[in-house]
Symmetry: C2
Subunit: 304 residues, 2 copies
Protein backbone atom coordinates (compact mmCIF):
# COMPACT_ATOMS: atom_id res chain seq x y z
CA UNK A 1 0.00 0.00 0.00
CA UNK A 2 1.12 3.54 -0.75
CA UNK A 3 -0.35 6.88 0.27
CA UNK A 4 -1.46 7.24 -3.34
CA UNK A 5 -3.96 4.46 -2.68
CA UNK A 6 -5.35 6.32 0.32
CA UNK A 7 -5.55 9.64 -1.54
CA UNK A 8 -7.35 7.99 -4.45
CA UNK A 9 -9.64 6.06 -2.12
CA UNK A 10 -10.61 9.24 -0.27
CA UNK A 11 -11.33 11.03 -3.56
CA UNK A 12 -13.60 8.23 -4.80
CA UNK A 13 -15.25 7.90 -1.38
CA UNK A 14 -16.03 11.61 -1.37
CA UNK A 15 -17.18 11.85 -4.98
CA UNK A 16 -18.80 8.40 -5.08
CA UNK A 17 -17.98 8.56 -8.77
CA UNK A 18 -14.78 7.28 -10.39
CA UNK A 19 -14.94 9.76 -13.25
CA UNK A 20 -15.32 12.87 -11.10
CA UNK A 21 -12.75 11.59 -8.61
CA UNK A 22 -10.29 11.08 -11.47
CA UNK A 23 -10.82 14.67 -12.64
CA UNK A 24 -10.24 15.91 -9.10
CA UNK A 25 -7.06 13.86 -8.88
CA UNK A 26 -5.98 15.11 -12.32
CA UNK A 27 -5.59 11.61 -13.69
CA UNK A 28 -7.77 9.65 -16.06
CA UNK A 29 -10.42 7.25 -14.88
CA UNK A 30 -8.90 3.86 -15.81
CA UNK A 31 -5.75 4.11 -13.65
CA UNK A 32 -7.96 5.24 -10.77
CA UNK A 33 -10.08 2.10 -11.14
CA UNK A 34 -6.89 0.08 -11.19
CA UNK A 35 -5.42 1.65 -8.08
CA UNK A 36 -8.64 1.18 -6.14
CA UNK A 37 -8.76 -2.42 -7.26
CA UNK A 38 -5.15 -2.87 -6.12
CA UNK A 39 -6.07 -1.52 -2.72
CA UNK A 40 -9.11 -3.77 -2.48
CA UNK A 41 -7.04 -6.79 -3.50
CA UNK A 42 -4.42 -6.02 -0.88
CA UNK A 43 -7.10 -5.64 1.81
CA UNK A 44 -8.91 -8.72 0.57
CA UNK A 45 -12.28 -6.99 0.53
CA UNK A 46 -14.43 -4.58 -1.46
CA UNK A 47 -14.36 -0.93 -0.43
CA UNK A 48 -17.05 0.12 -2.91
CA UNK A 49 -20.18 -1.51 -4.22
CA UNK A 50 -20.36 -0.58 -7.89
CA UNK A 51 -23.54 -0.44 -9.88
CA UNK A 52 -24.11 1.65 -12.94
CA UNK A 53 -26.44 3.94 -11.02
CA UNK A 54 -24.12 4.63 -8.17
CA UNK A 55 -20.87 3.82 -6.46
CA UNK A 56 -21.29 3.28 -2.75
CA UNK A 57 -19.02 2.66 0.18
CA UNK A 58 -19.35 -0.78 1.73
CA UNK A 59 -19.39 -1.10 5.52
CA UNK A 60 -15.67 -1.94 5.40
CA UNK A 61 -15.14 1.06 3.12
CA UNK A 62 -16.84 3.37 5.60
CA UNK A 63 -14.61 2.10 8.38
CA UNK A 64 -11.54 2.43 6.19
CA UNK A 65 -12.46 5.97 5.13
CA UNK A 66 -12.67 7.14 8.72
CA UNK A 67 -9.21 5.73 9.40
CA UNK A 68 -7.84 7.06 6.11
CA UNK A 69 -8.72 10.57 7.22
CA UNK A 70 -6.96 9.97 10.53
CA UNK A 71 -3.87 8.72 8.72
CA UNK A 72 -3.77 11.75 6.45
CA UNK A 73 -4.19 14.09 9.39
CA UNK A 74 -1.48 12.31 11.32
CA UNK A 75 0.88 12.66 8.36
CA UNK A 76 0.20 16.38 8.15
CA UNK A 77 0.77 16.74 11.86
CA UNK A 78 4.00 14.74 11.67
CA UNK A 79 5.33 17.06 8.95
CA UNK A 80 4.33 20.21 10.79
CA UNK A 81 5.75 18.95 14.06
CA UNK A 82 9.07 18.05 12.40
CA UNK A 83 9.24 21.53 10.88
CA UNK A 84 8.53 23.15 14.23
CA UNK A 85 11.25 21.05 15.88
CA UNK A 86 13.64 21.96 13.06
CA UNK A 87 12.91 25.66 13.57
CA UNK A 88 13.54 25.21 17.30
CA UNK A 89 9.91 26.05 18.03
CA UNK A 90 8.99 22.74 19.55
CA UNK A 91 10.80 20.25 21.71
CA UNK A 92 12.42 19.91 25.09
CA UNK A 93 15.05 22.09 26.69
CA UNK A 94 16.87 20.97 29.82
CA UNK A 95 18.05 24.14 31.48
CA UNK A 96 20.39 24.22 34.47
CA UNK A 97 20.81 27.30 36.65
CA UNK A 98 22.56 28.41 39.81
CA UNK A 99 20.55 29.36 42.88
CA UNK A 100 21.67 32.99 42.66
CA UNK A 101 19.53 33.79 39.64
CA UNK A 102 16.41 31.90 40.73
CA UNK A 103 14.77 35.06 42.06
CA UNK A 104 15.19 37.55 39.28
CA UNK A 105 17.04 36.67 36.10
CA UNK A 106 15.66 33.15 35.63
CA UNK A 107 11.96 34.07 36.00
CA UNK A 108 12.53 37.00 33.62
CA UNK A 109 14.08 34.69 31.03
CA UNK A 110 11.42 31.99 31.37
CA UNK A 111 8.51 34.38 31.16
CA UNK A 112 9.82 36.09 28.05
CA UNK A 113 10.89 32.85 26.36
CA UNK A 114 7.67 30.91 26.90
CA UNK A 115 5.73 33.80 25.48
CA UNK A 116 7.58 33.49 22.16
CA UNK A 117 8.03 29.68 22.23
CA UNK A 118 4.98 28.22 23.95
CA UNK A 119 5.53 24.75 22.44
CA UNK A 120 8.87 24.15 24.12
CA UNK A 121 8.81 22.34 27.41
CA UNK A 122 11.60 23.51 29.65
CA UNK A 123 12.96 21.17 32.27
CA UNK A 124 14.67 23.15 35.02
CA UNK A 125 17.53 21.77 37.10
CA UNK A 126 19.12 23.81 39.86
CA UNK A 127 22.82 23.01 40.29
CA UNK A 128 26.08 24.76 41.00
CA UNK A 129 28.34 25.86 38.14
CA UNK A 130 30.66 22.91 38.84
CA UNK A 131 27.78 20.45 38.75
CA UNK A 132 26.61 21.92 35.47
CA UNK A 133 30.00 21.36 33.85
CA UNK A 134 29.89 17.69 34.90
CA UNK A 135 26.32 17.40 33.59
CA UNK A 136 27.39 18.74 30.20
CA UNK A 137 29.93 15.93 29.96
CA UNK A 138 27.15 13.40 30.62
CA UNK A 139 24.86 15.13 28.11
CA UNK A 140 22.36 15.54 30.93
CA UNK A 141 21.60 19.20 30.26
CA UNK A 142 21.24 21.30 27.12
CA UNK A 143 21.96 24.78 28.44
CA UNK A 144 23.44 25.99 31.70
CA UNK A 145 23.26 29.38 33.38
CA UNK A 146 26.62 29.56 35.14
CA UNK A 147 28.70 31.92 37.26
CA UNK A 148 31.50 33.28 35.11
CA UNK A 149 34.30 32.95 34.36
CA UNK A 150 34.22 29.34 33.24
CA UNK A 151 36.86 27.90 30.97
CA UNK A 152 36.01 24.76 29.07
CA UNK A 153 37.26 23.30 25.82
CA UNK A 154 33.91 21.74 24.99
CA UNK A 155 31.53 24.55 25.95
CA UNK A 156 30.48 27.79 24.37
CA UNK A 157 30.06 30.46 27.03
CA UNK A 158 28.63 33.92 26.64
CA UNK A 159 28.12 36.69 29.16
CA UNK A 160 24.43 36.98 29.89
CA UNK A 161 24.09 39.38 32.80
CA UNK A 162 26.32 41.38 35.16
CA UNK A 163 25.52 42.91 38.48
CA UNK A 164 27.53 44.66 41.22
CA UNK A 165 28.62 43.02 44.43
CA UNK A 166 27.16 44.24 47.70
CA UNK A 167 28.15 43.73 51.33
CA UNK A 168 25.76 41.81 53.53
CA UNK A 169 26.02 42.45 57.26
CA UNK A 170 24.05 41.18 60.26
CA UNK A 171 21.79 43.95 61.61
CA UNK A 172 23.74 43.84 64.90
CA UNK A 173 27.10 44.47 63.17
CA UNK A 174 28.96 47.64 64.24
CA UNK A 175 29.13 48.86 60.63
CA UNK A 176 25.39 48.33 60.13
CA UNK A 177 24.48 51.78 61.43
CA UNK A 178 26.38 53.85 58.88
CA UNK A 179 24.97 55.44 55.74
CA UNK A 180 26.29 55.18 52.17
CA UNK A 181 28.86 52.82 50.75
CA UNK A 182 31.22 50.58 52.65
CA UNK A 183 34.94 50.64 52.02
CA UNK A 184 36.19 47.13 51.49
CA UNK A 185 39.33 47.89 53.51
CA UNK A 186 37.17 48.19 56.63
CA UNK A 187 36.29 44.51 56.35
CA UNK A 188 39.86 43.30 56.80
CA UNK A 189 39.16 41.71 60.18
CA UNK A 190 35.75 40.24 59.37
CA UNK A 191 35.02 36.55 58.98
CA UNK A 192 33.75 35.87 55.45
CA UNK A 193 31.05 33.33 54.61
CA UNK A 194 31.61 31.92 51.14
CA UNK A 195 30.77 29.01 48.89
CA UNK A 196 33.38 26.25 48.50
CA UNK A 197 35.67 26.84 45.51
CA UNK A 198 34.93 23.38 44.08
CA UNK A 199 31.28 24.18 43.60
CA UNK A 200 32.19 27.08 41.30
CA UNK A 201 35.36 29.08 40.87
CA UNK A 202 33.78 32.23 39.50
CA UNK A 203 32.23 33.59 42.66
CA UNK A 204 34.99 32.33 44.99
CA UNK A 205 37.81 33.83 42.93
CA UNK A 206 35.95 37.12 42.52
CA UNK A 207 35.70 37.61 46.28
CA UNK A 208 39.33 36.65 46.85
CA UNK A 209 40.46 39.04 44.11
CA UNK A 210 38.22 41.84 45.47
CA UNK A 211 39.82 41.51 48.90
CA UNK A 212 43.31 41.26 47.38
CA UNK A 213 42.71 44.55 45.60
CA UNK A 214 41.83 46.09 49.01
CA UNK A 215 45.05 44.70 50.39
CA UNK A 216 43.99 41.67 52.43
CA UNK A 217 43.04 38.02 52.26
CA UNK A 218 39.57 37.28 53.65
CA UNK A 219 39.36 35.17 56.76
CA UNK A 220 37.05 32.32 55.94
CA UNK A 221 34.58 30.76 58.31
CA UNK A 222 31.55 28.54 57.51
CA UNK A 223 31.04 27.58 53.86
CA UNK A 224 27.61 27.16 52.25
CA UNK A 225 26.79 25.63 48.86
CA UNK A 226 24.07 28.06 47.90
CA UNK A 227 24.07 31.85 48.14
CA UNK A 228 20.76 32.05 50.00
CA UNK A 229 22.29 29.76 52.63
CA UNK A 230 25.16 32.23 52.88
CA UNK A 231 22.55 34.91 53.66
CA UNK A 232 21.07 32.74 56.43
CA UNK A 233 24.50 32.28 57.96
CA UNK A 234 25.06 36.06 57.93
CA UNK A 235 21.65 36.59 59.53
CA UNK A 236 22.60 34.21 62.34
CA UNK A 237 25.67 36.37 63.04
CA UNK A 238 28.30 33.88 61.91
CA UNK A 239 30.04 36.41 59.68
CA UNK A 240 29.60 38.74 56.74
CA UNK A 241 29.44 38.14 52.98
CA UNK A 242 29.98 39.88 49.66
CA UNK A 243 27.22 38.80 47.33
CA UNK A 244 25.68 39.72 43.97
CA UNK A 245 23.15 42.51 44.41
CA UNK A 246 20.18 40.43 43.25
CA UNK A 247 20.49 38.52 46.52
CA UNK A 248 18.38 41.39 47.91
CA UNK A 249 15.37 39.53 46.54
CA UNK A 250 15.91 37.15 49.44
CA UNK A 251 14.11 39.01 52.19
CA UNK A 252 15.57 38.79 55.66
CA UNK A 253 14.95 41.23 58.55
CA UNK A 254 18.15 40.30 60.37
CA UNK A 255 20.53 41.62 57.72
CA UNK A 256 21.36 44.90 55.99
CA UNK A 257 22.83 45.48 52.52
CA UNK A 258 25.48 48.05 51.55
CA UNK A 259 27.04 49.01 48.25
CA UNK A 260 30.81 48.73 47.92
CA UNK A 261 33.06 51.77 47.45
CA UNK A 262 35.47 51.78 44.49
CA UNK A 263 34.24 48.47 43.10
CA UNK A 264 34.33 47.88 39.38
CA UNK A 265 34.19 44.13 39.55
CA UNK A 266 30.83 42.51 38.77
CA UNK A 267 29.16 39.18 39.48
CA UNK A 268 28.74 37.73 36.01
CA UNK A 269 26.18 35.16 34.95
CA UNK A 270 26.87 33.40 31.65
CA UNK A 271 25.06 30.98 29.41
CA UNK A 272 26.87 27.77 28.49
CA UNK A 273 26.09 25.09 25.88
CA UNK A 274 28.03 22.31 24.24
CA UNK A 275 30.16 23.16 21.21
CA UNK A 276 28.82 19.98 19.60
CA UNK A 277 25.22 20.93 20.28
CA UNK A 278 23.00 20.47 17.20
CA UNK A 279 19.51 20.80 18.65
CA UNK A 280 17.66 23.70 17.03
CA UNK A 281 15.85 24.30 20.30
CA UNK A 282 19.15 25.10 21.98
CA UNK A 283 20.24 27.42 19.21
CA UNK A 284 16.91 29.19 19.13
CA UNK A 285 17.13 29.58 22.91
CA UNK A 286 20.65 31.03 22.71
CA UNK A 287 19.56 33.37 19.92
CA UNK A 288 16.61 34.41 22.01
CA UNK A 289 18.89 35.23 24.96
CA UNK A 290 21.18 37.27 22.72
CA UNK A 291 18.31 39.24 21.28
CA UNK A 292 15.93 39.62 24.18
CA UNK A 293 17.77 39.19 27.47
CA UNK A 294 21.37 40.35 27.12
CA UNK A 295 20.49 43.88 25.86
CA UNK A 296 18.15 44.46 28.81
CA UNK A 297 20.80 43.38 31.25
CA UNK A 298 22.75 46.57 30.87
CA UNK A 299 20.20 47.64 33.47
CA UNK A 300 21.89 46.61 36.69
CA UNK A 301 20.31 45.89 39.98
CA UNK A 302 21.37 48.54 42.49
CA UNK A 303 20.54 49.30 46.06
CA UNK A 304 17.80 51.88 46.20
Amino acid sequence: MELRHLRYFIAVAEELHFGRAAIRLQISQPPLSQQIKQLETELGLLLFSRTRQRVDLTAAGKSFLKNAYSIMNLIDQACEEAKRVDRGESGQLILAFTGAIAFDLLPTILRAYQEVYPNISIILKQMTTAEQIKSFQKNAIHVGLVVMPVTSESLNIELLHEEPFIVVLPKTHHLAQQKGKINLANLVNERFIMTPRNSGEGYYDSIISLCQSAGFSPKKTQEAEELHTVVSFVASGMGIAILPSSIQFVKNDDIVYFPLQHNFQTYNTGVAWSKTEVSPVVHSFISFLRESIIPDCSRQILIN
Copy 2:
Protein backbone atom coordinates in the same frame (compact mmCIF):
# COMPACT_ATOMS: atom_id res chain seq x y z
CA MET B 1 5.23 11.73 0.10
CA GLU B 2 4.51 8.04 -0.14
CA LEU B 3 4.51 5.30 2.47
CA ARG B 4 7.71 4.07 0.83
CA HIS B 5 9.42 7.16 2.18
CA LEU B 6 8.24 6.42 5.69
CA ARG B 7 9.26 2.75 5.48
CA TYR B 8 12.70 3.69 4.24
CA PHE B 9 13.04 6.44 6.81
CA ILE B 10 12.15 4.05 9.64
CA ALA B 11 14.69 1.49 8.38
CA VAL B 12 17.50 4.06 8.24
CA ALA B 13 16.47 5.53 11.59
CA GLU B 14 16.61 2.09 13.17
CA GLU B 15 19.85 0.96 11.54
CA LEU B 16 21.49 4.40 11.56
CA HIS B 17 23.34 3.11 8.51
CA PHE B 18 22.22 3.51 4.90
CA GLY B 19 24.00 0.36 3.75
CA ARG B 20 22.47 -1.95 6.36
CA ALA B 21 19.06 -0.31 6.00
CA ALA B 22 19.23 -0.92 2.24
CA ILE B 23 20.01 -4.60 2.82
CA ARG B 24 17.09 -4.85 5.22
CA LEU B 25 14.81 -3.20 2.65
CA GLN B 26 16.19 -5.47 -0.08
CA ILE B 27 17.21 -2.57 -2.26
CA SER B 28 20.61 -1.13 -3.02
CA GLN B 29 22.04 1.81 -1.11
CA PRO B 30 21.88 4.60 -3.72
CA PRO B 31 18.10 4.60 -4.25
CA LEU B 32 17.69 4.57 -0.49
CA SER B 33 19.84 7.70 -0.21
CA GLN B 34 17.76 9.26 -2.96
CA GLN B 35 14.42 8.48 -1.36
CA ILE B 36 15.54 9.84 1.99
CA LYS B 37 16.80 12.97 0.29
CA GLN B 38 13.43 13.31 -1.47
CA LEU B 39 11.67 13.10 1.86
CA GLU B 40 14.01 15.64 3.42
CA THR B 41 13.51 17.99 0.48
CA GLU B 42 9.75 17.71 0.74
CA LEU B 43 9.88 18.41 4.49
CA GLY B 44 12.41 21.18 3.95
CA LEU B 45 14.72 19.91 6.69
CA LEU B 46 17.35 17.28 7.44
CA LEU B 47 16.18 14.10 9.14
CA PHE B 48 19.69 12.69 9.55
CA SER B 49 23.05 14.21 10.28
CA ARG B 50 25.53 12.29 8.14
CA THR B 51 29.18 11.94 8.95
CA ARG B 52 31.43 9.16 7.83
CA GLN B 53 31.57 7.77 11.35
CA ARG B 54 27.89 7.66 11.91
CA VAL B 55 24.45 8.57 10.71
CA ASP B 56 22.34 10.19 13.40
CA LEU B 57 18.79 11.37 13.72
CA THR B 58 18.37 15.12 14.02
CA ALA B 59 15.91 16.51 16.55
CA ALA B 60 13.37 16.87 13.74
CA GLY B 61 14.17 13.30 12.68
CA LYS B 62 13.46 11.99 16.17
CA SER B 63 10.13 13.78 16.22
CA PHE B 64 9.29 12.48 12.76
CA LEU B 65 10.28 8.92 13.66
CA LYS B 66 7.89 8.84 16.59
CA ASN B 67 5.07 10.00 14.35
CA ALA B 68 6.11 7.65 11.55
CA TYR B 69 5.61 4.72 13.91
CA SER B 70 2.16 6.05 14.82
CA ILE B 71 1.26 6.38 11.17
CA MET B 72 2.36 2.83 10.40
CA ASN B 73 0.44 1.49 13.36
CA LEU B 74 -2.65 3.43 12.36
CA ILE B 75 -2.44 1.99 8.86
CA ASP B 76 -2.21 -1.55 10.23
CA GLN B 77 -5.16 -0.87 12.49
CA ALA B 78 -7.17 0.61 9.62
CA CYS B 79 -6.59 -2.54 7.55
CA GLU B 80 -7.45 -4.90 10.39
CA GLU B 81 -10.55 -2.92 11.31
CA ALA B 82 -11.75 -2.93 7.70
CA LYS B 83 -11.24 -6.70 7.56
CA ARG B 84 -13.15 -7.19 10.80
CA VAL B 85 -16.02 -5.05 9.50
CA ASP B 86 -15.99 -7.02 6.26
CA ARG B 87 -16.20 -10.30 8.17
CA GLY B 88 -19.11 -8.89 10.21
CA GLU B 89 -17.03 -9.02 13.38
CA SER B 90 -17.06 -5.31 14.03
CA GLY B 91 -19.55 -2.53 13.55
CA GLN B 92 -23.00 -1.45 14.62
CA LEU B 93 -26.22 -3.41 14.59
CA ILE B 94 -29.56 -1.68 15.14
CA LEU B 95 -31.87 -4.37 16.44
CA ALA B 96 -35.62 -3.89 16.90
CA PHE B 97 -37.70 -6.21 19.07
CA THR B 98 -41.23 -6.58 20.36
CA GLY B 99 -41.94 -6.28 24.08
CA ALA B 100 -42.98 -9.92 24.32
CA ILE B 101 -39.43 -11.24 23.98
CA ALA B 102 -37.70 -8.68 26.20
CA PHE B 103 -37.72 -11.00 29.20
CA ASP B 104 -36.41 -14.26 27.84
CA LEU B 105 -35.51 -14.65 24.17
CA LEU B 106 -33.83 -11.26 23.66
CA PRO B 107 -31.48 -11.49 26.67
CA THR B 108 -30.57 -15.03 25.61
CA ILE B 109 -29.73 -13.85 22.10
CA LEU B 110 -27.75 -10.82 23.27
CA ARG B 111 -25.73 -12.74 25.83
CA ALA B 112 -24.75 -15.48 23.39
CA TYR B 113 -24.06 -13.07 20.52
CA GLN B 114 -21.89 -10.60 22.42
CA GLU B 115 -19.80 -13.49 23.67
CA VAL B 116 -18.87 -14.44 20.10
CA TYR B 117 -18.86 -10.90 18.67
CA PRO B 118 -17.66 -8.57 21.40
CA ASN B 119 -16.68 -5.82 18.92
CA ILE B 120 -20.19 -5.24 17.65
CA SER B 121 -22.19 -2.55 19.35
CA ILE B 122 -25.89 -3.39 19.36
CA ILE B 123 -28.41 -0.59 19.47
CA LEU B 124 -31.73 -1.89 20.77
CA LYS B 125 -35.06 -0.39 19.83
CA GLN B 126 -38.30 -1.72 21.24
CA MET B 127 -41.20 -1.39 18.80
CA THR B 128 -44.22 -3.32 17.63
CA THR B 129 -44.05 -5.52 14.56
CA ALA B 130 -45.90 -2.88 12.55
CA GLU B 131 -43.50 -0.15 13.64
CA GLN B 132 -40.57 -2.34 12.67
CA ILE B 133 -41.90 -2.79 9.15
CA LYS B 134 -42.16 0.99 8.78
CA SER B 135 -38.64 1.41 10.20
CA PHE B 136 -37.25 -1.01 7.62
CA GLN B 137 -38.65 1.20 4.89
CA LYS B 138 -36.85 4.19 6.41
CA ASN B 139 -33.63 2.14 6.78
CA ALA B 140 -33.77 2.98 10.48
CA ILE B 141 -33.14 -0.58 11.71
CA HIS B 142 -30.97 -3.44 10.49
CA VAL B 143 -32.72 -6.43 11.99
CA GLY B 144 -36.14 -6.84 13.57
CA LEU B 145 -37.49 -9.50 15.88
CA VAL B 146 -41.13 -9.66 14.87
CA VAL B 147 -44.29 -11.56 15.64
CA MET B 148 -45.03 -13.90 12.76
CA PRO B 149 -46.51 -14.23 10.29
CA VAL B 150 -45.34 -11.15 8.44
CA THR B 151 -45.59 -10.82 4.70
CA SER B 152 -43.37 -8.30 3.02
CA GLU B 153 -41.94 -8.04 -0.47
CA SER B 154 -38.80 -6.34 0.71
CA LEU B 155 -37.99 -8.35 3.84
CA ASN B 156 -36.48 -11.73 4.50
CA ILE B 157 -38.23 -13.42 7.41
CA GLU B 158 -37.26 -16.58 9.20
CA LEU B 159 -38.86 -18.38 12.11
CA LEU B 160 -36.73 -17.88 15.16
CA HIS B 161 -38.68 -19.23 18.10
CA GLU B 162 -42.08 -20.73 18.84
CA GLU B 163 -43.90 -21.09 22.09
CA PRO B 164 -47.40 -22.23 23.15
CA PHE B 165 -50.22 -19.91 24.06
CA ILE B 166 -51.50 -19.83 27.61
CA VAL B 167 -54.63 -18.43 29.20
CA VAL B 168 -54.21 -15.59 31.65
CA LEU B 169 -56.99 -15.10 34.20
CA PRO B 170 -57.47 -12.71 37.08
CA LYS B 171 -57.02 -14.56 40.40
CA THR B 172 -60.63 -13.74 41.23
CA HIS B 173 -61.99 -15.38 38.06
CA HIS B 174 -64.39 -18.31 38.55
CA LEU B 175 -62.18 -20.58 36.41
CA ALA B 176 -59.05 -19.66 38.38
CA GLN B 177 -59.64 -22.37 40.99
CA GLN B 178 -59.49 -25.37 38.69
CA LYS B 179 -56.49 -27.61 38.09
CA GLY B 180 -54.98 -28.62 34.73
CA LYS B 181 -55.66 -27.24 31.31
CA ILE B 182 -58.42 -24.93 30.24
CA ASN B 183 -60.72 -25.77 27.36
CA LEU B 184 -60.90 -22.81 25.03
CA ALA B 185 -64.62 -23.41 24.50
CA ASN B 186 -65.23 -22.42 28.12
CA LEU B 187 -64.03 -18.89 27.35
CA VAL B 188 -66.80 -18.16 24.84
CA ASN B 189 -68.44 -15.54 27.05
CA GLU B 190 -65.25 -13.88 28.32
CA ARG B 191 -64.09 -10.42 27.39
CA PHE B 192 -60.70 -10.66 25.67
CA ILE B 193 -57.95 -8.11 26.13
CA MET B 194 -55.83 -7.91 22.97
CA THR B 195 -53.41 -5.72 21.11
CA PRO B 196 -54.76 -3.62 18.21
CA ARG B 197 -54.47 -5.40 14.89
CA ASN B 198 -52.64 -2.46 13.31
CA SER B 199 -49.70 -2.81 15.67
CA GLY B 200 -49.11 -6.37 14.47
CA GLU B 201 -51.31 -8.84 12.71
CA GLY B 202 -49.54 -12.01 13.84
CA TYR B 203 -50.71 -12.11 17.42
CA TYR B 204 -54.16 -10.65 16.72
CA ASP B 205 -54.95 -13.09 13.95
CA SER B 206 -53.65 -16.04 15.98
CA ILE B 207 -56.04 -15.33 18.81
CA ILE B 208 -58.97 -14.84 16.45
CA SER B 209 -58.18 -18.06 14.65
CA LEU B 210 -57.74 -19.95 17.95
CA CYS B 211 -61.20 -18.86 19.04
CA GLN B 212 -62.69 -19.61 15.63
CA SER B 213 -61.37 -23.17 15.89
CA ALA B 214 -63.19 -23.44 19.26
CA GLY B 215 -66.35 -22.22 17.58
CA PHE B 216 -66.65 -18.59 18.65
CA SER B 217 -65.47 -15.07 18.01
CA PRO B 218 -63.83 -13.42 21.03
CA LYS B 219 -65.59 -10.51 22.59
CA LYS B 220 -63.07 -7.70 22.66
CA THR B 221 -62.74 -5.12 25.37
CA GLN B 222 -59.81 -2.81 26.20
CA GLU B 223 -56.86 -2.89 23.78
CA ALA B 224 -53.21 -2.48 24.86
CA GLU B 225 -50.14 -1.91 22.65
CA GLU B 226 -47.79 -4.08 24.63
CA LEU B 227 -48.34 -7.57 26.00
CA HIS B 228 -47.22 -6.69 29.53
CA THR B 229 -49.88 -3.97 29.49
CA VAL B 230 -52.39 -6.66 28.56
CA VAL B 231 -51.27 -8.53 31.68
CA SER B 232 -51.86 -5.44 33.82
CA PHE B 233 -55.36 -5.08 32.41
CA VAL B 234 -56.10 -8.74 33.22
CA ALA B 235 -54.77 -8.20 36.75
CA SER B 236 -57.15 -5.29 37.20
CA GLY B 237 -60.05 -7.59 36.30
CA MET B 238 -60.94 -5.99 32.99
CA GLY B 239 -60.93 -9.29 31.13
CA ILE B 240 -58.85 -12.33 30.22
CA ALA B 241 -56.15 -12.88 27.66
CA ILE B 242 -54.44 -15.56 25.63
CA LEU B 243 -50.74 -14.82 25.57
CA PRO B 244 -47.45 -16.48 24.67
CA SER B 245 -46.19 -18.56 27.56
CA SER B 246 -43.04 -16.50 28.08
CA ILE B 247 -45.29 -13.75 29.44
CA GLN B 248 -44.99 -15.70 32.69
CA PHE B 249 -41.67 -13.91 33.20
CA VAL B 250 -43.82 -10.89 34.01
CA LYS B 251 -44.58 -11.55 37.66
CA ASN B 252 -47.98 -10.52 38.93
CA ASP B 253 -49.74 -11.85 42.05
CA ASP B 254 -53.19 -10.93 40.82
CA ILE B 255 -53.25 -13.34 37.89
CA VAL B 256 -53.00 -17.08 37.22
CA TYR B 257 -51.75 -18.89 34.13
CA PHE B 258 -53.28 -22.00 32.53
CA PRO B 259 -52.25 -24.15 29.58
CA LEU B 260 -54.72 -24.56 26.77
CA GLN B 261 -56.35 -27.88 25.92
CA HIS B 262 -56.08 -29.15 22.33
CA ASN B 263 -53.92 -26.30 21.17
CA PHE B 264 -51.39 -26.87 18.44
CA GLN B 265 -51.04 -23.25 17.43
CA THR B 266 -47.93 -21.43 18.62
CA TYR B 267 -46.85 -17.84 19.14
CA ASN B 268 -44.05 -17.42 16.63
CA THR B 269 -41.24 -14.93 16.80
CA GLY B 270 -39.32 -14.36 13.59
CA VAL B 271 -36.26 -12.47 12.51
CA ALA B 272 -36.63 -9.96 9.67
CA TRP B 273 -34.05 -8.10 7.59
CA SER B 274 -34.06 -6.22 4.33
CA LYS B 275 -33.64 -8.21 1.12
CA THR B 276 -31.27 -5.47 -0.05
CA GLU B 277 -29.19 -5.64 3.11
CA VAL B 278 -25.48 -5.76 2.38
CA SER B 279 -23.92 -5.15 5.79
CA PRO B 280 -21.77 -8.10 6.82
CA VAL B 281 -22.72 -7.47 10.43
CA VAL B 282 -26.34 -8.20 9.62
CA HIS B 283 -25.50 -11.37 7.74
CA SER B 284 -23.20 -12.60 10.47
CA PHE B 285 -25.95 -11.88 12.98
CA ILE B 286 -28.53 -13.82 10.97
CA SER B 287 -26.07 -16.71 10.55
CA PHE B 288 -25.44 -16.62 14.25
CA LEU B 289 -29.18 -16.85 14.99
CA ARG B 290 -29.54 -19.78 12.59
CA GLU B 291 -26.67 -21.66 14.15
CA SER B 292 -26.93 -20.81 17.82
CA ILE B 293 -30.45 -19.69 18.67
CA ILE B 294 -32.95 -21.42 16.40
CA PRO B 295 -31.83 -24.99 17.24
CA ASP B 296 -32.17 -24.33 20.98
CA CYS B 297 -35.64 -22.95 20.54
CA SER B 298 -37.16 -26.37 19.99
CA ARG B 299 -37.15 -26.20 23.81
CA GLN B 300 -40.48 -24.55 24.49
CA ILE B 301 -41.48 -22.62 27.52
CA LEU B 302 -44.25 -24.49 29.33
CA ILE B 303 -46.12 -24.00 32.55
CA ASN B 304 -44.45 -25.97 35.31
